[in-house]
Symmetry: C2
Subunit: 284 residues, 2 copies
């Protein structure tokens, strides 16, 4: 019997039975492993942490992409940092109004292996003519990008360890601010409020972003295969407020069928439990 | 090394390290086990399933109790079915406006052991003069109760197996309807949308309740130690709507400090993901 096991904290762990280990590779950046099982289908891990699986990837990818588009339906130029599995790009490319998508993923092997083993996320991305794939460090990319050149930045990163670390720094968020135009929105993978280590990351990221962007919110979603299942994205922007400015009719007019996201959930997702709000408001 | 392990589905499991097994007992109704560890403090299981732990019991108990009181702040007579750990009663008794609470818990040993090992939920309940503790089958109790004798029924049950099974039947929900007064509200433990077995229970319960009550909703919360962390309560009522009728000012005037619940979250919790809504709306 084969079990993939992930420690959610020192004192607890989550395990998934798999039928087959599809592939393993150590790249210059990280350890990549692909598995296949019944409950979650094919899934892959980076440095031993669950990234994407066929059962619930739709939750993460709906929630990283659609709230920004329902807030500003005129988004045309999108930068994705990380997101090597392709799922975030896949959702962005569903908007025919989007003109250009640049994805800066540091590890090309993640994308190539997802093309092979996880077509549900990676299959359609590369062939879209609006798409530019850059296998480059995200922090490096934004440093060299022009001022005010994007409507939306999606930071689809790992936890702030190894390759993900630079994507949780003030220097990175400042560059994001600079390369976003005057209506720009930054969405970032914002960790989780429940287990201590993740909650620390959540607080640190929020404090840094709050010091840079005039409008900052955090929204939540149910992601069962991430530690605690209670996971967050940050919404930071220069002008748009995700609650006041949501354009429900316009978003509905796109006619996108989504399995997790809907405009009612959009509003609800920004209503956080008291202990989460207090954690975000607390000074470190 | 000691690990408590719970299968969340055939193919995955959640494990908690514990330092000490505090107590075990097989009652006529179920197997009861108490453990103590670092991450979750003291916790107990019934028939091998996590019921309550010191780290996140506040989430469950906030969410089973406060949405009903924010919808109808005039609740005075409350019936709790199950809830042997005492946490639900504890939260209800915080409302000084409540005049009478009856708790019908089938297994007295659950309550007595929680008094001993889990004072955080059970300690203050028995001494409150408004409280009547009945160690009786919940279905039996409602069958013999008078018409229109309660403002609120809280079904704080296990899954629909063994002792919890009768609390997921049409016969039980019909009796609940009868013993609720014209403004009565029924809140029930409504399982989870993510893993197939729990999702089936969710659908079945909703279908039965919808056939009996004129107003029915389902609301969600993040409960990390229950399978998938995505858990639900049902809100059924004869006249009050939990969104339209929420009395935010009145609830705030109670001055209750809550760690999870707040009135903004109340509204958000009723906004369900699309796949959950579709599951609830689907005919079995």
């Amino acid at each position: 019997m084969n079990w993939y096991t992930e420690q959610w904290s020192t004192e607890c762990k989550f395990s998934i039975k798999y039928d087959e280990k599809l592939y393993s590779e150590k790249t210059p950046f990280q350890q990549i492993d692909f598995y296949k099982g019944k409950e979650f289908g094919t899934f892959f891990t980076l440095d031993g942490l669950m990234m994407v699986n066929e059962k619930d990837e739709f939750i993460y990818h709906d929630m990283i992409v659609h709230p920004a588009f329902a807030t500003n339906p005129n988004i045309k130029k999108v930068l994705i940092i990380g997101g090597g599995d392709g799922g975030t790009a896949r959702e962005v490319l569903r908007y025919s109004s989007v003109e250009e998508v640049i994805m800066a993923e540091i590890d090309e092997r993640v994308f190539r292996l997802c093309q092979q083993y996880l077509p549900i996320t990676a299959e359609t991305v590369e062939q879209d003519s609006r798409m530019t794939l850059l296998f480059d460090d995200g922090l490096n990319f934004v440093k060299n990008a022009s001022d005010a050149s994007f409507d939306l930045i999606l930071v689809d990163s790992t936890d702030p360890i190894s390759v993900g670390e630079g994507l949780f720094t003030t220097a990175f968020y400042e560059e994001c601010y600079r390369v976003l135009n005057k209506d720009g929105i930054l969405i970032n993978q914002h960790e989780s409020p429940y287990f201590a280590e993740y909650a620390q990351n959540m607080k640190k990221a929020h404090k840094k972003i709050k010091d840079i962007f005039p409008i900052t919110h955090v929204y939540q979603y149910h992601m069962p295969t991430y530690p605690s299942g209670h996971w967050l994205f940050g919404f930071a922007s220069k002008s748009y407020d995700p609650i006041k400015d949501i354009d429900i009719n316009k978003w509905e007019s796109f006619g996108l069928k989504t399995k997790y996201y809907n405009t009612s959930l959009h509003i609800g997702a920004f209503s956080l439990p008291t202990y989460v709000k207090e954690g975000l408001d607390a000074d470190e």
